[in-house]
């Protein structure tokens, strides 16, 4: 029961209903903060959602623009432009081979070289030591249709033989040929000769060397005397004329086959280089600089690094691993001490002994040194700088919405668990000296032992080779619980980071 005191009664009675109206500025400030914190719902969620939406929209637009402006495959565009009036029966396979050869200027040059080479062969090596029967063309009579034809010539290492086909028949194959009936050096027709003469063993390897450069022309220069009789009996002759359109069409088809095969080979090679497996596993090391916001002691920089493994299935992936997160911070401590004033020898006990010689008692004093402290509490505030090391275990789900051979773009999202494993004191140890420490309290709270974060980001994977790739992943984290121990602290930080990783894929 408290005693009544006139002072207490006076102030209690007078000040109980005392009122002070807050200023309008303070009220407005309070309402602004209330509206900012509660009026707009969960603001961090909308921040994250907005950032993710902007990133996704931007990535989608980029993908759309990239896909719409990427050049079409060479053979498709060239067919339409190079063969506008060609008959369908014979033009399609021929056009493919022609167009595929037309995609590079190097091929056109090779045709020019082809004509020159032919001339060279005929002039410098009139009698080749290894003549290919049925493929030798006399130099002066050879013409290069590439120079006069609007059609690009296919790449062919073979010299043109003297063609038995008349002009109209060749015109049907969309290759303008002079009507002289002379042997044409049209490379488009050249494979036909090789096709026609496939039974001859000497030509068979020539057809298989179509990918080789012009140097392969040299051994394929036969004598005209040998080529002419060999071609004539093998050309199909339904009528008295030498050539009908049907065999010519076959010839163009057969000439297109090696080019098409080349394209298929290239595609197969590409697929072999980057095989589209249904699933694979990758492992790597990552480093993520992270900037935390909405913390008690201002913004913080965090270093995250570790190793991780990813399981890919199709466009989806699951990533986990283990890593460390290192950050620093300071917490304020209050120490209450009693100051040391000195010490004195306090009498503990006295013992007496009888001295018979002097017939008296001799005292022996037992003392104990006792410290004297000021009863006033002394308050000492100090900031301790600390380094916190968290063990992190992420579980991230991913979806790649766009891929090509060297780049894939996707979104990632998941959760990260952080467990405090080490807390180092970077400041000097407080030395209270002889003072008596009464209490030590944390004024600002220490970091929490366990927290969870939600993470979302956009991933870009650059393939350096079949196995190695680099990942760059800007991400946003939201801390589901406060990173501080105190239950009074309700601030939940969020952070921005950029994850960089080197990944090996199996």
């Amino acid at each position: 029961m408290k005693k009544q005191n006139p002072i207490d009664d006076l102030f209690r009675s007078e000040l109980t209903d005392y009122r002070v109206v807050p200023s309008d500025e303070r009220r407005a400030a309070f309402m602004r903060e209330v509206v900012g914190k509660y009026g707009k719902g969960s603001r961090p969620f909308w921040w994250i959602a907005g950032v993710v939406a902007i990133i996704l929209i931007g990535a989608g637009i980029a993908v759309f623009v990239l896909e719409n402006h990427s050049p079409a495959p060479a053979h498709e565009g060239s067919v339409a432009s190079a063969m506008p009036s060609a008959p369908p029966a014979s033009s399609t396979p021929f056009a493919r081979s022609t167009a595929s050869a037309n995609t590079t200027t190097g091929t056109v040059k090779s045709n020019e070289i082809n004509g020159n080479k032919t001339n060279t062969i005929n002039t410098t090596h009139p009698a080749s030591p290894n003549p290919a029967p049925g493929s030798q063309v006399p130099g002066p009579r050879t013409q290069n249709p590439v120079s006069s034809s609007p059609l690009p010539a296919p790449r062919s290492p073979l010299p043109a033989p003297r063609s038995p086909l008349p002009g109209p028949a060749l015109a049907a194959a969309t290759v303008p040929v002079p009507s002289t009936g002379e042997l044409q050096a049209n490379p488009a027709v050249t494979p036909a000769a090789s096709k026609v003469e496939q039974p001859q063993s000497s030509l068979t390897p020539v057809a298989s060397k179509e990918e080789q450069p012009q140097s392969s022309l040299t051994p394929a220069a036969p004598k005209p005397e040998q080529s002419r009789p060999s071609l004539t009996p093998e050309a199909p002759k339904p009528e008295a004329s030498m050539v009908t359109p049907a065999p010519k069409a076959e010839t163009t088809k057969s000439s297109a086959k090696p080019e098409a095969q080349n394209e298929e080979k290239k595609a197969t090679y590409r697929e072999k280089s980057y095989p589209p497996k249904k699933w694979n596993i990758s492992a790597g090391a990552y480093y993520t600089p992270e900037w935390m916001f909405n913390t008690l002691n201002g913004d913080k920089f965090v270093n995250n690094f570790g190793v991780e493994g990813t399981f890919h299935f199709g466009r989806y992936s699951v990533r986990t691993g283990v890593g460390l997160s290192i950050t620093s911070g300071s917490n304020e401590m209050l120490r209450q001490t009693n100051s040391y004033l000195g010490a004195y020898n306090a009498l503990d006990s006295i013992s007496f002994q009888w001295n018979q010689q002097h017939t008296s008692l001799v005292p022996t004093y037992f003392t104990q040194q006792k410290s004297v402290y000021d009863s006033t509490l002394t308050y000492n505030y100090s900031y301790n700088k600390k380094r916190y090391t968290y063990l992190q275990v992420p579980l991230i789900l991913g979806y790649d919405f766009w891929q090509n051979n060297w780049l894939s773009l996707g979104v990632r999202g998941g959760a990260v668990m952080s467990l405090l494993v080490k807390s180092e004191n970077l400041s000097d140890t407080y030395n209270e000296g002889n003072d008596k420490v009464i209490t030590i309290n944390n004024v600002s709270p220490d970091r929490i032992q366990l927290n969870w974060q939600g993470i979302g980001g956009v991933n870009a994977t650059f393939r350096l080779s079949r196995r190695f790739s680099i990942e760059v992943e800007p991400d946003v984290r939201y801390y589901f619980n406060s990173v501080y121990e105190s239950s009074e602290v309700t601030t939940k930080p969020w952070s921005l980071g950029v994850r960089a990783a080197i990944v090996v894929t199996w």
């Binding site: 002072i7 207490d8 000040l15 002070v20």
Partner: protein, 193 residues
Amino acid sequence: MIFSRRDTAAKRPDQASIGALYDKHAPWLLAVCLRYTGNREDAEDVLHNGFMKIIHSIDSFNDQHTGSLEAWMRKIMVNTALNYIRDHKKEKMFTVLDPLLENFRESEDTDDFGGCDLTKDQLMGLVCELPAGYRTVFNLYVMEDYTHKEIGEMLGISENTSKSQLSKARNLLRKRLLDYQSSKNYEKAESNR
């Protein structure tokens, strides 16, 4: 039901309700804060922080507390004020100059201040002029009705220190009041002369 309207989507009281709550309770809560901080600027800071806590945890009051809303708000505000003082007053708050006061025994107060005609603002001014330690203990003991033991636990001081702080606060206030009364009597005598 504390709030007449609630934002059902956010499960929070809407702005109008918060504004009404603030207008109704802020004046007397600011007076509580002023008694602890001693100046209006700090008191408004404490009021701001304390009211944010109140709004933040208003649902817990609805769910758990069945007592008076005013008592609950006062407790939050007092705790906020004590934390604020602890964080911002880093000098020695609770000084005991005379070690003998550790064994202080409360003395009997016989003065009667029933006829004191000081205004409430003047009385509040006297409280605000007290040193922080005196003021804190005086407020907790006299206005909040805590015991010395509870005050000692709250402030991290001994029970006797709390008693000595209260005694010094009373002595200081008594001295100020007596000075005021004597000066007033002197003025009255001068006017009668």
